[in-house]
Symmetry: C2
Subunit: 261 residues, 2 copies
Amino acid sequence: MSEKMTRRDVLSTGVIAGATIVGAGVTGVALNGSAEAKKMAYPWPYVKLNSKKVAERAYKDYFSGGCMYACFEAIMGELADKLGGAYKDFPFAYATYGGGGVASWGTICGCLNGAAAALALIYPSSNPLRNQMINEVMAWYERTALPVFVPKNPVKVDKSFKQPTSKAASPLCHASIANWSAKTGVLPSSPLKSERCGRLCADVAKYVVDMLNKAAKGQFVAGPQISDNANECVSCHGMGKQVGNIQGKMDCESCHPDAHK
Amino acid sequence: MSEKMTRRDVLSTGVIAGATIVGAGVTGVALNGSAEAKKMAYPWPYVKLNSKKVAERAYKDYFSGGCMYACFEAIMGELADKLGGAYKDFPFAYATYGGGGVASWGTICGCLNGAAAALALIYPSSNPLRNQMINEVMAWYERTALPVFVPKNPVKVDKSFKQPTSKAASPLCHASIANWSAKTGVLPSSPLKSERCGRLCADVAKYVVDMLNKAAKGQFVAGPQISDNANECVSCHGMGKQVGNIQGKMDCESCHPDAHK
């Protein structure tokens, strides 16, 4: 994939309008950081990224700043390298707070929190693409056996290591790790859990960048927005429906395995 | 509370070191926004805020940008008004992504996600105060009957309205709302749920600012960091303990009511 931006890359994103750096983007010249920070209008611009490069960066980032930082910095940092401007001055380190489901509380997986934060800088809430992409990556994360990313240079294992996978069945860190641990017999305190989570960051960051690249070409078509389990439950229990007593889109079965059984 | 900054306010925060705006802070002159954005070293500075003013701002913000935006913007926006600099240029609107537990998925309550994000801009991960404060506000949120904030001008009810309270027993949006709904008989689609969540934003933002103000005076002493329920469970099940099969700090009983009963 070419690292050089073309007029079409920039103009076809659908999100560049309003940004102050269009001129620089069109000429393919990345803005340089400077002592004075550059002000960029919100939402921030996006240009096509190499998703495999972003995945490697997220994997590496995990071992210095945890899962939310990894997904957030890998995407935003690549954009900073290409576009400069306010990206260069954004204190990416703030995103370390999301590690382990926010300060190790086990709430939302930091990969997903970081991915959503990045998407929210690129798309305003008024653009349906933002929530379509957040929904899609959350639903994909729930149902997919992960991680599948294989790093060039594994940090906690040697290159012959065969990475076990598991389905999180939930966007929550606590459930995601518990399900992985139950399937593999590996405890969360093991270096193998760090290896698993580092690779998971790469998978999520790559998935998000692949969606963003499609959208930049005007070719994004939203995938499943919610699991089949949740879809069945919210058809009655969701807000405004017949029962109408819950708010949420998480796969219900993860915490309510016996509901309606 | 005086709105004017004193030398002591600024110098006693323990987080101003490294920021580029110390000079302006010491003289009590807020930096002005300008066409060129101001670059600030991370972590960003904090000066004492009026927590009641922040609470009113969070309540109002909820109705335009949801819960994460409310807690984040109320704290950061007050700092922007006082300190200018990079605060002025931060695209607060990104935080709308956290509404309803991230794009209405029901994961972490957006108040807590926004509060943690704000704390993470003010304290780096290397400063123990960051996680002490995140832990404390999460544990307080779980065990406290909320909301208690009474707005000057209620949005969805009249001034005679008596706000019902409930304990979330979890940092998750889905559980927090479900428990409130079960106790009050009010469905999540009701305007009364919006009123409840708007007031909750005010409570959380105020709690965080009260902690930050104490820390700014060197008087912050961390409160409970985890619920009694969770503490009992993680003493065996937590990472590195005898069973060692879970990662997390959420009140376990909310999702596992029958464990060890």
